[in-house]
């Protein structure tokens, strides 16, 4: 088992003929992902490698029964692409695109409220269920199938964590990057709830960073609803206030959104907080093994 994606996931790629789209589609296919269609307006009828390309998401979904969209279109067109996928009732939409204006995402998020689709991202590495399906830009080989669910706001920091888990022999059920933007689709709580309900997930690693209050809200949820052990890590203890640290959402403003506040919230929710990223793998090994015994 896993959450959101597995070997039955049928992926269509919006922006499949672009440089990024092509490169990552090939990587996903070679990992074993079932990529059934691509969408690039005015390139319908062509193929990218073996994958048929369509003009619209609706047509692609109808002809190929795709149930997941991976989006690589540039930021100026990304909001449109997400809404197109949602209008075609694609179940899961994964938007990799970084740099979408907040104003666009405000509209998208309100539009999605009336649709059955789940959005992951934007500005995220995507989602992977190791050994089954990779919908994103993460390096496949560092992952290992297993019992740990990973949810994070960042990209390479997640790879670091996953790599350390794998080196400890701790495989992953599913790893999700929810993205570094202030307004995103799936949040920590959605993922925690899904991991809690997934019998294959025995433990959870949650990686947060400065900015907003998503971690604090997640911790309140954990305290009430999550029985599985959770390891937490927060990046940005040394981040100066008022500065946007790379991610559009990573900013400490008016004394809120600090790493320390998030770590405190984790402690209150009895999350096992790891403060030393260099030792995270070992730390997880201790937490999850003790609980196994």
């Amino acid at each position: 088992m896993s959450i959101f994606v597995d070997r039955n996931t049928r992926v269509l790629v919006q922006g499949i003929t672009g440089r990024e789209g092509q490169f990552h589609t090939r990587q996903c296919i070679s990992y074993g992902t079932n990529v059934v269609a691509g969408v690039t307006p005015a390139k319908g009828g062509q193929t990218m490698d073996e994958v048929p390309v369509f003009n619209t998401v609706r047509e692609a979904a109808k002809k190929t029964e795709a149930n997941c969209a991976m989006i690589f279109v540039p930021p100026a067109f990304a909001a449109d692409a997400i809404m197109e996928a949602a209008d075609a009732e694609i179940e899961l939409i994964v938007s990799i695109t970084e740099g979408i204006p907040v104003m666009d995402m405000l509209r998208v998020k309100n539009f999605l409220a009336s649709k059955p689709s789940r959005l992951i991202g934007p500005n995220c590495p995507g989602i992977i269920t190791p050994g089954q399906c990779k919908v994103g830009i993460m390096p496949g080989p560092i992952h290992l199938p297993g019992p740990i669910g990973v949810v994070s706001r960042s990209g390479t920091l997640t790879y670091e964590v996953v790599d350390q888990l794998t080196k400890q022999g701790l495989g992953q059920s599913t790893c999700i990057g929810i993205g570094g933007d202030p307004v995103n689709g799936t949040n920590f709580i959605d993922c925690l709830a899904a991991f809690e309900a997934d019998p294959a997930t025995k433990g959870i690693v949650m990686i947060g960073e400065i900015g907003g209050s998503a971690e604090e809200e997640a911790c309140a949820y954990i305290a009430e609803n999550v029985s599985k052990p959770v390891v937490g890590f927060v990046a940005g203890l040394t981040a100066p206030p008022g500065r946007r640290m790379g991610h559009a959402g990573a900013i400490v403003s008016g004394g809120s959104g600090t790493a320390q506040a998030k770590i405190d919230a984790m402690r209150r929710a009895e999350v096992h907080v790891c403060e030393d990223l260099g030792n995270l793998g070992e730390f997880c090994s201790n937490v999850f093994n003790v609980i196994k015994d």
Partner: protein, 387 residues
């Protein structure tokens, strides 16, 4: 992106949102001319820097005559203004805004910003204008009016009424306020703002509603469709190295520490800064070279880190995904050969093509310290810092 008060007021003026008469001045002479043109005293002289709390730092003064304008303008121009938001180093004032004085009856607070959790656009208002809104929110939250607008629907009359009645405005002021708030909302949405704040918004003795102050932040992600706003960027207000870095699409923030670092990915970059702190040093910067970095970007990043005289050591931490380790290694070698390496450099690489990357570094003959993992990298940095 931040812009100046006088620029924000220009945007207000173009949107028919009332602001005091006034003009920006770059010299004492210009300030005197503007004051004369305004036709009556007193006038207000306001330092234009990208930081709040200017009044507290002595950057906002009232002048009752041409002579006073001259004295105050020459005092404020080129002063190093220290406010609660500038940090102790302060900011050099290069321009001032000269405005008509108003007969202020009431000072209010009004702002518009996106709410990240609910994806609404939120209007925040308070009768306690002219004060630090965070302080008001903390001490007397009941004084804060918060009205959420669904961005798909936009602002409706009832939103305006909720805010206006909350502010306790008189009937003759209400109408002006409705019109002003609607225009402000439309400005916020159409110009990709991430914050519009008026503190204070004043009601004059003559019952006019006027934005005495104006602050606008623009969402950098929206600048591609706001070309005219992009021109309002004032690089004088930014750190010189940060401006330089932005020319190469590098995400760099200059900090006051002694260990420079270069990382791919914002989250990992923040975590790497934390590791430097844990090792007993202070990060000299934040630098995310991004997922798609090439050798040239790495080289420029390296050069920018070294341009900071406080840097005593550098930690490079790359988790190769899209950015391959061999590309990173080539960039480092190129940079080192061109600029020379004056400080110890610890390199930790993992991920795509890591073996090839390590081979390139090893055969370069450069004096680089390689670390096998993050823990090792932290230990090696700690060792260097301890000397």
């Amino acid at each position: 992106m931040k812009i100046h008060e006088y620029q924000a007021k220009e945007l207000f003026r173009n949107a028919n949102i009332p602001v005091p008469e006034g003009e920006v001045a770059f010299s004492v002479d210009e300030a005197c001319t503007t004051a004369e043109n305004l036709g009556s005293y007193p006038v207000v002289i306001k330092a234009q820097i990208h930081a709040g709390g200017r009044g507290k730092g002595g950057g906002v003064k009232l002048a009752n005559s041409r002579e006073e304008v001259k004295n105050i303008a020459s005092h404020i121009l080129n002063m190093n203004l220290v406010t609660p938001q500038t940090g102790p180093e302060g900011k050099l004032v290069k321009k001032i805004l000269v405005e008509e004085g108003l007969n202020v009856a009431r000072e209010l607070y009004l702002s518009i910003l996106p709410d990240r959790a609910t994806a609404n656009i939120v209007i925040i208002a308070s009768q306690a204008g002219g004060m630090d809104i965070e302080e008001v929110a903390a001490k007397s939250p009941e004084k804060i009016i918060r009205v959420a607008v669904n961005p798909l629907v936009g602002i409706e009359p009832y939103h305006c009424r909720e805010v206006a009645f909350g502010l306790g405005l008189s009937p003759e002021v209400n109408k002006q306020f409705y019109a002003m708030l609607s225009k402000l909302y439309r400005l916020f949405v159409s110009r990709d703002c991430s914050l519009v704040e008026i503190n204070p918004l004043v009601v004059t003795e003559e019952n006019a509603i006027i934005a005495l102050d104006a602050k606008i932040d623009i969402d950098s992600n929206g600048l591609y469709r706001q070309k005219d706003l992009e021109e309002l960027r004032d690089t004088d207000e930014e750190d010189a190295l940060e401006v330089e870095a932005s020319r190469f699409n590098l995400n760099y923030i200059n900090l006051s520490g002694n260990v420079g670092n270069m990382v791919n990915g914002a989250g990992l970059a923040m975590a790497t800064m934390d590791i430097i702190k844990k090792a007993g040093a202070e990060p000299a910067n934040f630098l995310d070279v991004g997922g798609g970095a090439n050798a040239e970007m790495v080289e420029n990043g390296f050069r920018i880190i070294l341009a900071d005289d406080n840097v005593q050591a550098i930690l490079i931490n790359i988790f190769g995904g899209i950015l391959r380790c061999d590309v990173l290694a080539e960039g480092v070698v190129q940079a080192a050969q061109k600029t020379g390496i004056s400080v110890p450099v610890v390199i930790r690489m993992e991920g795509t093509n890591v073996e090839e990357g390590r081979r390139i570094l090893a055969k370069s003959g450069l004096n680089l310290i390689t670390a096998v993992d993050l823990k090792d990298a932290a230990d090696k940095i700690a060792e260097i810092v301890r000397g």
